[in-house]
């Protein structure tokens, strides 16, 4: 990177941290530290979006479109419906009870052990996710910037800790406005530049035709298939449950909209998210599809992680790898002619010629993918510990090698800002839950406001340090965004099930829901184990379906146990 890029990157990050600390100086009460209580609806909306949009979103999503097309967008179809349900059912109760955390409500509806179970599940799954949220961009950025992993982990972790510990919820919300501006500005600049970088004879619509004919604009699929992770039906059912759990019961999100000046401001913040999230994801995926088109006209590397590719070139397998790179490049030359032919035939409008040109191109694309698979096998031989899934490197590799000076620094600032925005919400929520649901509730009930404020800061700091340590010991998952969604899908359905029982099934009481939650959690973990090992039989399903299954399971088991308890009592 050039010195201008470094100035843009560090200038942006230091400004955001300094602004967060300065803007929230003098935060001296628990209420302003944990709730904020002053945000307008658009600040809440931006904060909700910034919390969900982690670095993983910007690293993985364009790569997802590059390799798998845009069908991932369907995962977000359930989000607007979830926003409405939370606005109608969850939010008024949180406001009425004036809670700091979502789990406080469970004590008033059930008992303290159910509240603590839900809070504990949150601490476990969000604590794990906080580590991934730091680790995911850290490992990719360390490779791209050629830094040690520890440095990138520390930069993200320490910067976040500074303003989150100092200003609490208000600092998180204030900095997320700047971070969202950086994220959106950077991505729009990247989107415009990738289209401008296409050859002069290739227009915007030509590019879309190329992407479409090569299967990258597969946005909607109405076919019902339980084992298919992303289609319309999984988006409108399984994902609704996931988003209800995430936005309705995950403290890292609940704390964002409880920072509103009033119930109406919080509701409008949720509505803003429901309105803008799908188009936002569409734009990010579309940029990934356009990067794919860019690489139909410009030779892509056979493997997008340059650092790993360079290590393989100088290893014993170097010759085999270089031979595959040559083969890949020669297929690219053929593909280049085929894609030019496709553009010409699309302009002619002759359907038969278009189909013929598209078939030729797709067959060459298959050959090219085969060579990529062989190259990954060689990498595996040369470096057994190396990650051969390079999906998460595609977008930033494109940025570093093809975008102008200044914009590269801005795009790195996008990734760091996204990592910081979601991590700060997580640490803020982990600190709040530790203090409100455990420390204040069970350990020290009668301390002063000042003592709880200091405790909140200490717990936030402790979770920050723990997340950094955890991030330092993680190994890379198949795909980072899916790793986060998987962890969520294993734990969220149980917490959502408890809340659904609380809101809609008065018949089910504390002991029944508590036992049901523990049994259901065991069933979900067993189900995932069987699915991973191909032994689930009739219950084979994509992990997004765990959300609906687990939630329904808590309700059903709770109902059966409660009936048993009632019958025993009556007899």
């Amino acid at each position: 990177m050039s010195s201008i890029d470094w100035i843009v990157l560090f200038g942006t990050l230091i400004f955001i941290v300094a602004y967060g600390v300065w803007k929230t100086r003098g935060t001296n009460s628990m209420d302003s530290y944990l709730r904020g209580d002053t945000s307008k609806w658009w600040t809440i909306g931006l904060s909700i979006m910034a919390t969900q949009a982690s670095a993983i979103t910007f690293l993985s999503t364009p790569g997802q479109a590059y390799t798998d097309g845009m069908r991932f967008i369907q995962f977000y179809f359930g989000l607007p419906l979830a926003m409405i349900l939370i606005s109608v059912f969850f939010l008024p109760i949180y406001y009425k009870l004036k809670v700091y955390t979502a789990y406080e409500y469970l004590e008033s509806r059930f008992d303290v052990k159910t509240r603590m179970l839900a809070a504990l599940i949150f601490l476990i799954q969000r604590g794990l996710a906080a580590g991934i949220t730091i680790y995911a961009p850290a490992i990719i950025l360390s490779s791209l910037l050629d830094w040690r992993l520890g440095y990138t982990t520390l930069i993200i972790g320490v910067l976040v800790i500074i303003y989150t510990v100092s200003g609490g919820t208000k600092a998180v919300t204030q900095t997320q406005k700047q971070q969202m501006a950086v994220m959106m500005g950077g991505m729009i600049a990247a989107g415009v530049l990738v289209i401008v970088s296409l050859p002069d004879n290739v227009g915007f619509f030509d590019a879309m035709h190329v992407a479409g004919k090569m299967g990258k604009l597969n946005v909607v699929n109405f076919d019902f298939d339980l084992s298919d992770r992303y289609n319309f039906w999984s988006g409108m059912t399984g994902a609704v449950f996931l988003f209800m759990s995430y936005f309705g019961t995950d403290q890292s999100q609940v704390q964002r909209y409880l920072s509103g000046k009033s119930l109406s401001e919080s509701r409008l913040g949720l509505m803003m998210n429901g309105l803008l999230k799908v188009p936002m994801q569409f734009i990010i995926l579309f940029i990934g599809a356009m990067v794919f088109v860019f690489y139909q006209f410009n030779a892509p590397p056979v493997f997008f992680n340059d650092t790993v590719a360079q290590q393989v070139r100088v290893s014993e397998q170097g010759e085999a790898f270089t031979a595959l790179e040559d083969e890949y490049n020669s297929i690219f030359e053929e593909k280049r002619r085929a894609v030019d032919n496709l553009v010409t035939t699309v302009e002619s409008g002759d359907e038969k010629s278009i189909d013929l040109a598209a078939n030729t191109l797709n067959s060459l694309q298959e050959s090219s993918e085969e060579v990529r698979t062989q190259a990954k096998a060689v990498i595996q031989q040369a470096l057994p510990d190396a990650e051969t899934n390079d999906k998460d490197y595609i977008f930033m590799n494109f940025v570093m090698n093809n975008l102008p000076v200044g914009i590269v620094g801005l795009l790195f600032a996008v990734i760091f800002s996204a990592a910081m925005s979601s991590t700060s919400s997580e640490l803020n929520a982990l600190g709040s839950t530790s203090v409100i649901d455990f420390y204040k509730r069970k350990i020290n009930q009668k301390a002063s406001d000042k003592h709880y404020l200091q405790s909140s800061k200490l717990f936030t700091l402790a979770w920050g340090i723990l997340a950094i340590i955890f991030a330092s010991y993680l190994s890379l998952f198949e795909n980072l965004i899916q790793a986060v969604n998987l962890i969520g899908s294993l734990f969220y359905p149980i917490v959502l099930g408890i809340f659904v029982v609380a809101f809609f099934f008065k018949y089910i009481k504390a002991n029944a829901v508590f036992i049901a939650a523990i049994l259901s959690q065991a069933v979900i973990i067993l189900l995932h184990y069987l699915n991973v090992n191909g032994q689930a039989g009739f219950f084979t399903m994509g992990f997004l379906w765990y959300n609906a299954f687990g939630c329904v399971l808590v309700v059903l088991i709770g109902f059966i146990i409660q009936t048993g308890i009632n019958q025993k009592r009556n007899s």
Binding site: I84, V88, P92, I93, Y95, K96, L217, R267, L275, F282
Partner: protein
């Protein structure tokens, strides 16, 4: 359903535009349906 009944007792201000929260929810669902329809046409047109 007792909690929901209690919730109805909480005074809720109308939204600053569109008159009622119900209209805001319809706007959200209408927007989603239009987007899905456009995405479907987009998929068909370019595939």
């Amino acid at each position: 359903m007792s909690e929901i009944k209690k919730e109805k007792e909480v005074p809720v201000d109308p939204p600053p535009f569109l008159g009622s929260w119900k209209n805001i929810y319809w706007l959200l669902m209408g927007n989603l349906i239009v987007l899905i329809l456009l995405f479907y046409l987009f998929t068909i047109h370019f595939s």
